[in-house]
């Protein structure tokens, strides 16, 4: 599986650390209820198909949102979590 790092180009999956679904970026606000924190930490849509998840390229240190398919392992593209650059 090759993941296109916006900074380094297409790189082998071995160079990346996997964190989980990209919803993890949507952190509840400081006043959010306990249910919101439970959902943030634990509950997952867990789609069979197209998904967005969070990876870190351990070589350059960049955190990426990678769009890929969980059924075929096809990777559609990746972007820096700051949204600065796309790569496909």
């Amino acid at each position: 599986m090759l993941i296109p790092c916006p900074l380094c180009g297409p790189r082998d999956r071995r160079e990346f650390y996997y964190m989980g679904a990209a919803e993890y970026l949507e952190r509840p606000g400081p006043d959010a209820a306990a249910e919101a924190w439970d959902a943030h930490l634990h509950l997952r849509a867990n789609p069979a198909g197209r998904t967005r998840d969070l990876w870190q390229h351990e070589c350059c240190g960049a955190w990426l949102v990678v769009e890929r398919c969980t059924v075929t392992h096809r990777v559609f593209g990746a972007r820096l979590i700051g949204g600065l650059t796309d790569a496909a």
């Binding site: 999956r13 996997y18 634990h42 997952r44 849509a45 969980t70």
Partner: protein
């Protein structure tokens, strides 16, 4: 027909013409009292114990493919009760006791082989952790023996004891641990449930769960509408999709776990051996193949096949531990889809929908749990109270903070 040695002899003498099908294949009825979604190990054992322990009738198991075609037929068949935490410890202890009587119970040879399981350790800290785990196992009433380096050598002389990165300090021997024949477990429960009048309905995929006012109404399937008073979702690997039909979001992320088997060899590995530091474990099947595996691929996946990086890692770990297997040829590899939960422990509980129950989140340890999982889910569905050994497997424990994090790695699904 009751299976026995005499029956085998008799059928052998008359050309094996008398063996009938092991279970019936009925048409689905319009409604049942209890429907189990999922004809794998856990679903079939649930149906069996509902009928056997609680005397219930009018039960169906719906399976989208064929019975035992999911993870029950895709695992590495290890049976053990070496858990540490209260909540897990008593549950797996109960399961192992059920395994020990399973063949007589089901009148079916599940080839349960208590050949002993050895977890290796490679540092003083790890030895302390395993000594503590062993004491917890003994306190639970199970067996554990702490082996030093020479003790391990007596059991496993073929390990590389000169490995400097992970020197073998010793191992925790669990003599009652072992393996069983995975398919036979599904078939044995299917046959026994069918004999008690459970309808096993194959090629019947659930496509909708009807909920009205927070109460379960029935199911839509590829073989028509099926009414039900109580339904259990027992579909590990696809839990999220089926639960979503009832409007539920689960604390589950699906991951692929690979396993490998070599060509058949003469007996050479007598135990189940696990090398946790290298993410590698191995046993030898009765057919002679070395069955081994490692960790999950670490990224969410529904592909029932793995990627090369983990395959490479498993092979390297195997060679580091026991170089003697280097010339064995790998016959095939496969992947199974694991329900990974945020604490590495399962769920056997009610759902917020009245009449709907769920059994999920087995991570990569569901096989050994098959008897107790069915036993406890059947108890919950029949009595509406959690069984005492499964009372901590609650769906809401993540919200309340009562996690069962055996490895202490925190709320990240892929780290368990």
């Amino acid at each position: 027909m009751r299976y026995s040695g005499l029956q085998v002899l008799w059928e052998g003498l008359r050309g094996n013409r008398g063996w009938g099908p092991a279970w019936t294949k009925p048409e689905p009825k319009p409604a049942y009292d209890i429907v189990i979604i999922g004809g794998g190990g856990h679903g079939l054992s649930t149906a069996y114990y509902l009928a056997k322990n609680h005397g219930l009738k009018n039960i169906a198991v719906l399976e989208k493919g064929y019975l035992g075609g999911g993870n029950i037929g895709r695992n590495t068949t290890i049976v053990r009760a070496n858990y540490f935490l209260p909540g897990n410890s008593e549950f797996y202890s109960h399961s192992l006791k059920l395994w020990e009587g399973l063949e007589a119970e089901l009148n079916y040879n599940v080839m349960h082989s208590q050949r002993g399981l050895i977890n290796l350790f490679h540092s003083d800290g790890q030895r302390d952790a395993f000594a503590r785990r062993g004491n917890a196992m003994i306190n639970q009433g199970d067996d554990a023996i702490l082996l030093d380096r020479e003790g391990v050598r007596a059991h496993l002389p073929y390990l590389d004891f000169e490995n400097h990165r992970f020197p073998v300090y010793g191992g925790l021997l669990h003599p009652r641990g072992g393996t069983a024949r995975h398919d036979a477990v599904a078939w044995g429960y299917a046959r026994a449930a069918s004999r008690l009048g459970v309808d096993l309905i194959e090629n019947c995929e659930v496509t909708g769960i009807t909920v009205n006012g927070g109460k379960l109404q029935g199911l839509t399937t590829t073989r028509g509408e099926i009414g039900a008073k109580k339904v259990a979702i027992v579909v590990a690997g696809r839990s999220g999709q089926v639960a979503a039909m009832a409007g539920l979001t689960l604390p589950i992320e699906s991951h692929v776990l690979q396993a490998f088997v070599t060509e058949g060899l003469k007996p050479c590995i007598d135990h189940v051996v696990s090398f946790g530091m290298g993410h590698f474990y191995i046993s030898q099947s009765d057919k002679g193949g070395l069955v081994f595996g490692g960790d999950i691929d670490f990224h969410a996946s529904y592909a029932a096949r793995g990627n090369l990086p983990m395959m490479e890692h498993v092979m390297e770990a195997g060679m580091a531990l026991m170089p003697m297997i280097g010339r064995a040829r790998v016959l095939r590899s496969w992947g199974g889809i694991m329900d990974m939960s945020p604490d590495g422990s399962p769920v056997i509980d009610r759902t917020p929908v009245d009449g709907l129950y769920i059994n999920c989140g087995w991570n990569y340890g569901g096989f050994k749990a098959v008897p107790a999982s069915g036993w406890c889910l059947a108890h919950l569905m029949a009595t509406d109270e959690s069984h005492e050994v499964a009372r901590r497997f609650r769906l809401d424990r993540f919200a309340t903070g009562h996690l069962l994090d055996e490895e202490g790695t925190g709320s990240q699904h892929n780290l368990h």
